[in-house]
Structure formats: C-alpha cells, structure tokens
C-alpha cells in the first residue's frame, strides 16, 4: 500500500542501486509454531557488483534468496529490483539453486536443459541454440550438449546449471551455495569461472555461501548474517586487489585480515 512512497524514499538520488532490501522479514508457520527466520534485513546491491551473503548453516540464506528471487513472499518489508517491488520472479533475474543436481531435468539433454527457459523469451530456435552453445562454451562444456545430466560429474552438472542461468542472459544472477558439494579443485575452478563470467557478461551477482574464504575471495562486498533469526551483522568492503587469484589473493595480508573479521562477526553472539 505504501510501496510507492517507500520506493522513492529508499532511492534518494539517481544511484546505480540494482537491488534494495528493506526491513525484510520472513516467518515460517503461524501461531505457536511460528519461526522467525529473517528478522528485518536491510542492504543493497549496486549495478555490476558482486555481493556475497555469508552466514552459518540454517541462518536463512536460502530463504533470503528465495524472497529476492520472488519465489517466497516476505512476511513484511520488501525488496526492489531497479525500483520495482519484487512480488514474483523478475524477468531480469536468474537463480542457480543449491540443489543443482535436482534442479536439472534428467529427461532433457544438457542442451535442452539450457534452452528450456528460453522458449518463452520470443527468440528463434536458432538463436536459442546459439545462446546455449555460447553459454556452454563459457563454462567449458562445449562438447557435451547431447549428453544427459546424470552422465556428468557433480562439477559438470553445476556448470550446466550455471550455463542455463547464463543463456537466460539475466541482469542479476543469484547463486545459492553453488560450490558447496564439489571437491576443492573443482570448487576453485568454478569460483574463477564465476569471476570470469562477471567480467565477460557484466552482470550483477549475489552469491550465498557458508564458506568465509569463498565469500571474501569472490566479493566486492560481503554481507554477514548472524544465525537465525538472521539480521545483517555488518557489510564489509573487500578492498583486495582485482583480478583475484587463488594463490596470490589468499596470501594477501588484507585478505587474511578480512577473513578473520568475518569469522569473528559470525562467531559473535
């Protein structure tokens, strides 16, 4: 009802704010069984920025992303994408799910999985195939379009899920613990892949993780959540030099400092 007013109030000057989250609250269940998961979150994400949201398991990170992706209605408060209140999945937004194996259709080939979201975009069949090919190339999977997801390793399946999001050509890409269940080597590769994708496509990325190293390594800013009911503990600017490098960045004293800072914030009660 007062959304219009709030929108204008929350974007004072013509900044490049993409995503604005205001007093976002989410309660599961009602009455005695009610459980507050998100307890009035406030933060924003600028255009082209890479923001990591870090918090312990069960803090409400998935809940937050689902609210931002328009999959869950917040109990109160609101979030805005380019000034428009999010009340359903916005067209500019893609989400890579935490359960990436389950988010791919086992009856569709890799290519068909990637093109599935495109048939509703009013583009030709050829264009869809081209986009799928380009996206699969970008994630290093150009040679498996006719395989089925279950014929691929976990890391490759995650790449397919990322390719599907890229082919959709979103302006905002959200990722829910995308690398939590792959081995360390693959994880580093996929982290660097995500950084390259950001460079290449110039998209805004919001990535949720419980891994502090990952958050500091990837992000321009880290939003630190406390355990449930989640509130924003602090928002940290990651002033580590770019481009990032798995060895050099992680050996950088500033990186170590920031990592300890985030760790303390999460541990604090």
């Amino acid at each position: 009802m007062m959304t219009g007013v709030m929108t204008e109030a929350s974007i004072p000057e013509q900044t490049d704010q993409r995503l604005v989250i205001e007093e976002l609250r989410k309660t599961y269940g009602t009455g005695a069984a009610a459980k507050v998961v998100l307890d009035g979150l406030n933060f924003d994400v600028r255009s082209g920025e890479f923001v990591c949201i870090v918090g312990p398991s069960g803090a409400g990170k998935t809940t937050l992303l689902k609210c931002l992706a328009g999959l869950l209605p917040p109990t109160s408060g609101a979030s805005y994408l380019d000034g428009i209140q999010i009340d359903g999945p916005p067209e500019k937004l893609a989400l890579v799910f935490q359960e990436y194996t389950r988010s791919l259709m086992p009856w569709l080939t890799v290519e068909k999985n990637v093109t599935l979201p495109l048939s509703n975009k009013g583009i030709s069949k050829r264009e869809r195939r081209t986009r799928a090919q380009e996206a699969l190339e970008a994630v290093g999977l150009a040679d498996v379009p006719s395989k089925y997801p279950w014929q691929l390793s976990g890391g490759m399946q995650q790449r397919v899920a990322i390719a599907r999001a890229l082919a959709y050509q979103p302006e905002v890409l959200m990722m829910d613990e995308p690398f939590a269940s792959v081995d360390a080597q693959t994880r580093f590769e996929l982290e660097d892949l995500t950084l390259r994708v950001r460079e290449q496509f110039g998209i805004t990325i919001v990535l949720v993780t419980h891994d502090i190293d990952e958050a500091v390594y990837l992000a321009d800013r880290v939003v630190v959540l406390g355990s449930a009911p989640a509130q924003v503990r602090e928002i940290i600017d990651v002033d580590v030099t770019s481009p990032r490098d798995q060895v050099k960045t992680k050996a950088d004293p500033r990186f170590t400092e920031l990592r300890s800072r985030v760790f303390e914030l999460i541990r604090a009660r």
């Binding site: 999945p89 937004l93 988010s103 259709m105 009856w107 569709l108 014929q151």
Partner: protein, 291 residues
C-alpha cells in the same frame, strides 16, 4: 501365468540393459553381444517351447472331448481368424478396446494432472475415485446395457470407465511426488505453461504414469473380453463363449489361443514403447547401480 512370464522377461531385460551399457564403453566385439542376446532369448523361450511341444504330443493321441489335438486347434485358428472372422469380429473387438483405452488414457492423465495441482480438488476427489475404482467392472454391465444398449458404445464406455482409475491414481501420485525444486526452476525461469506441462510435469511423473497406463491396458483387455462374453453379438469374446455354449470345443480353444496371443502382444508393444519413453529413467537407474 502370463504375469509371471512377463515379470521374468522384464527382469532379464533390465539385467541385459545394464550389462550392455557397461560393456558398451569397453567396446566389446559385436559377435559377443549377439551371442549374449541369443543366449538370453534361449533362456526366455525354452519353457514356452517345451510346453507347446508337450501339448502337441500329448493332445495328438488323447481322445478327450474337452482337449482336442493342438494340430486341430491350430487348423481352426487359421480358418476362423485368418481371415474369415477377422474383419467381422477381431477388428470390432480391437476397435472397442483401443477407443476405450485411449479415452481412459486421455481422461486419466488429463484429470490427474489438473487435480494434482489443486489441493482442494485432490482432497475432494480422492475418496470418490477410490470408491468408484473398487466397483468390479462386470457389475457395471447391467446398467451399461440399460443406458447404452448392446452396441459398441456400451463396450467402449465400460472399458474406458474400468480402465481410467489406474491411470488417474498413478498420475495423481506421480505429479504430486515430483521434486518441488523443479516447480521452483520453472517459476524462476518463467517457463511457459505448455513447456511446464510437456517438458517438466509429465516427464517427471512419467515412470508412475506409465505403470498406471500398463495396468489400465490389462484392465481394458479383460473388460473388452468380459463385456463381449456377457452382452454382445460380435467380437472375439462373443465367438469364444458361443463356441463353448454350442460345444464347438475346438473353436473355443482357438478363441482362447487368439486372446492369449493378443494379450501377450499388447504387453510386448507397451513394454517397447515404455522403454523408448523412459530411456532416460532406465539409463539413470543403471548408472546409479554401477556407481
């Protein structure tokens, strides 16, 4: 007996599939896979062949009224069905069954998908469905005759009605059991309603839907025969019961033989179609087993 043989053959079927997918990567020579296929064919068919031989030999000498020699039965089989009664009786039987079955498939899957989406509809409909499906189809014949007469419409209707519930319930279960993550994927990526139905909801429920369709097919076949035996002036079931009532015992056996062969062929065709539709499911399962 038919059921036993079917499940046995489908077991060896899956075993063979997973074996061949293993060796496929190892690139075994083609002759060995050919030999393997021959061997499993031999394993599946030695018993039926033995039974036919025993029947042939045993019935040739015996002089029993109810068990005429197999050679005679085959003779009558050829006279009756190839092709004297083929167009007047076999075709109408098959047409009734296929129309009735097709109706039950469409209604069962369509209604199942719609009802599964709406929680209230599901709760309201489920008890009714379980009540209706526990009425033995034969019990419906009298009222069906009253309302629809003796014509093919009566048979199609009663076949469709009897067969629909297995598919309906399987579809309801299959759609409801689908992974909720898939529904979220289609929402986030704004997949169109049509794609959501044909590329997500139906394939996700396909394993359950197909086993429902198979049960429906068996029911449709049984009800086709029963309705002809109870109330008809044409059809395979009618001719078979007529032969029995007029002591044309050899004709009766010829009818039973045709019914057996048809039932077997229906199931075979269904299994082949199922393998095509569910090839991803089969591949995924054999993959999971080998890892």
């Amino acid at each position: 007996m038919r059921t036993a043989r079917r499940s046995e053959s489908s077991n060896t079927g899956t075993a063979r599939r997973s074996e061949s997918s293993n060796t496929g990567t190892a690139r075994r020579s083609e002759s060995s896979s050919m030999r393997r296929r021959l061997r499993s064919f031999a394993i599946e068919f030695w018993l039926p062949v033995l039974i036919v031989v025993l029947w042939w030999v045993g019935s040739a000498r015996a002089d029993l009224v109810f068990y005429p020699p197999l050679a005679e039965i085959l003779g009558r089989f050829q006279d009756l069905w190839l092709f004297d009664r083929f167009f007047t009786d076999v075709i109408p039987s098959l047409r009734n069954m296929l129309v009735g079955y097709a109706l039950s498939c469409l209604v069962g899957v369509g209604l199942g998908v719609v009802v599964a989406q709406v929680r209230i509809a599901r709760h309201a409909l489920e008890p009714l469905v379980h009540f209706l499906r526990s009425i033995p189809p034969v019990a419906l014949v009298p009222i069906a005759i009253l309302v629809l007469g003796f014509g093919p419409e009566m048979k199609m209707t009663i076949i469709a009605f009897s067969a629909v519930f297995a598919t309906l319930i399987a579809t309801l279960d299959g759609v409801r059991a689908a992974d909720p993550v898939l529904a979220e994927v289609t929402r986030v990526y704004r997949v169109s309603g049509r794609d959501r139905l044909f590329k997500v909801i139906l394939p996700a429920a396909a394993p359950q839907i197909l086993s429902g369709l198979q049960v429906s097919l068996q029911i449709a076949f049984v009800v086709m025969i029963t309705s002809e035996m109870l109330a008809s002036t044409e059809g395979i079931g009618y001719l078979t019961i007529l032969a029995q009532q007029t002591f044309a015992i050899t004709d009766m056996w010829a009818g039973m033989l045709l019914l057996g062969i048809l039932g077997y062929l229906f199931n075979l065709l269904f299994t082949l179609a199922e393998r095509r539709v569910l090839h991803w499911h089969i591949g995924m399962r054999s993959q999971a087993k080998t890892h």
